[in-house]
């Protein structure tokens, strides 16, 4: 980011995030800031804490310590087993309302059609008018190339199509930031491309995104920043050219070399 330009507002910020599962400390002091329009890719070997980090943002995992900010909502944690007050729980709900989360395993609601999945949150959580929700949901499905599948049940869609519906669903709540946890890892190789294309288009629109991925070439191309995580710490962070091609950390260098695979 160019320091001479006016700094865009912060969308997501993590400060000194710690998280343990039992005695295993999975996150050991994570600081991270995503400004409006940033696309941050998060890489690292299996078990390094990538998913946990991403899931701490909407409190799918509750950090033990640190500070989570999304938009204007900040929640401060003071230790494991923190009991949230009523006001804090409301705050967490508002914070969640400002992000869209895309899971590795899609997690569409199987009893709703594609369109119903996309309309659900605007209609039943945000309480927006039905006609508006429907119109916007249809537009989102069209954006991910699935206008013709609006009435299809999730079980009748391919993995790639399900994931694109899931992306449309995340977009429909008008989030400030989109979080992707390995969005293509559960897909057959021939279906990965269609999902990456959608994510790339979102990056080009200037969406703020955090993407955990093993797709190195893709990450290098779409992201504005990259983070390499190792044993719960950020070991390397910087512009993608640095992290993917010329990292300072020797471990990161070995990791990106090992992951590179055939050039596509």
């Amino acid at each position: 980011m160019n320091p001479t330009t006016v700094r865009t507002p912060t969308t997501v910020r993590l400060a000194n995030i710690h998280k343990s599962f039992g005695r295993q400390e999975v996150l050991r002091g994570i600081d991270l800031e995503a400004r409006d329009g940033d696309v941050i890719s998060i890489i690292g070997s299996s078990g390094s804490g990538k998913s946990t980090l991403l899931r701490c943002i909407p409190f799918l995992e509750i950090p033990d310590q640190g500070e989570v900010t999304v938009g204007d909502e900040t929640i401060v944690l003071t230790g494991a087993g923190h009991r949230f007050s009523r006001a804090e729980r409301q705050k967490i709900r508002r914070l969640r309302g400002q992000i869209g989360f895309v899971f590795q395993s899609f997690n569409l609601w199987p009893h709703m059609t594609a369109l119903q999945n996309v309309m659900e949150v605007p209609l039943h959580v945000q309480g927006r008018p039905r006609a508006e929700c429907r119109e916007e949901a249809e537009a989102m499905l069209a954006k991910v190339g699935l206008a013709d599948k609006r009435d299809a049940w999730p079980a009748h869609l391919s993995g790639g199509q399900q994931q694109r519906v899931a992306i449309a669903r995340a977009l429909a709540s008008r989030p400030r930031a989109l979080l992707f946890d390995e969005p293509t890892s559960a897909l057959d190789p021939e279906l990965v491309g269609e999902v990456l294309r959608v994510i790339r288009a979102l990056a080009e629109e200037g969406r703020t995104m955090l993407i955990v991925t093993h797709e190195m070439a893709f990450a290098r191309e779409v992201s504005s920043h990259a983070i390499y995580l190792h044993e719960g710490r950020i070991e390397e962070a910087g512009p993608p050219q640095q992290v993917f091609l010329d990292p300072v950390s020797e471990r990161c260098r070995r990791f990106v070399r090992g992951q590179a695979g055939p050039v596509d």
Partner: protein, 241 residues
């Protein structure tokens, strides 16, 4: 043969009206019992899944106790035991003499209590069959708990629970015959009375069987249709897919 038609018909000599009313009473008492059972079963399933330890334990004990005692005894307990307690309370407030309680109400509650234990298990199983990721996907949007229950959990769980609930409905209909001990004129009671006064037990008990069979068959069909509707678009439909 002609005599049988007259006896079962709706003429002045016939028992048709009495049997029809009795059949409807069976249906009504079963519906009330099933509804009680569903409410109780839902509460117990919730207690077992997410309730505080005390309630979880209570729900477990409730299940064990009702599995272990005869259904007829539960009805006696509610009807005769209930009458005794209500009378005692009424006498405290200056009322004299015994107080009658409704066989319909006591019977529905008793069978509801019995069915509730079984329905709790059906619903609990159905809840655990929900893919957890779909709940997480709801939670992450900031959806409130009640909305989540209404929009995400209940529809998915009910779909899985329908066959089990259908079985429960069938057993409730059959158990409703036990309520005849309270004097409620439901199907079994009505055919017994008719059998006694006409001295034609074979004919009237056969007619009773036919009434139960008609109720279970038709309602079984309703459940089948509901299951079919609920399964639209579900993976089970993609045979070999």
């Amino acid at each position: 043969m002609g005599e049988a038609f007259t006896l079962l018909g709706f003429g002045p000599e016939g028992w048709g009206h009495a049997l029809l009313t009795a059949g409807l009473t069976t249906l009504a008492v079963s519906a009330c019992a099933f509804a009680c059972g569903l409410v109780l079963g839902t509460l117990c399933a919730w207690a077992k899944i997410a309730g505080p330890p005390v309630l979880r334990r209570a729900a477990d004990i409730y299940g064990v106790v009702l599995r272990g005692i005869p259904d007829l005894l539960v009805i006696y307990l509610f009807y005769f035991g209930g009458r005794q307690i209500v009378t005692a309370i009424a006498n405290q407030f200056g009322h004299t003499g015994p107080v009658e309680i409704s066989g319909f109400v006591a019977g529905s509650l008793a069978i509801g209590l019995i069915s509730g234990a079984a329905q709790a298990e059906v619903l609990r199983g159905a809840f655990h069959a929900i893919p957890p990721g779909t709940l997480e996907a709801a939670r992450v949007t900031g959806m409130r708990r009640w909305t989540m229950f209404r929009r995400i959990i209940a529809p998915q769980a009910l779909r899985t629970a329908l066959p089990g609930l259908g079985n429960q409905w069938q057993s409730v209909i059959k158990e409703s015959a036990l309520v005849s001990v309270t004097g409620l004129v439901e199907t079994l009671r009505a055919v017994s009375v008719a059998a006694n006064s006409t001295e034609l037990p074979f004919l009237f008990f056969l007619a009773g069987g036919a009434i139960y069979l008609a109720i279970t068959t038709v309602s079984g069909l309703v459940f089948r249709i509901a299951e079919w509707r609920a399964m639209r678009g579900q993976p089970a439909m993609r045979v070999g897919g």
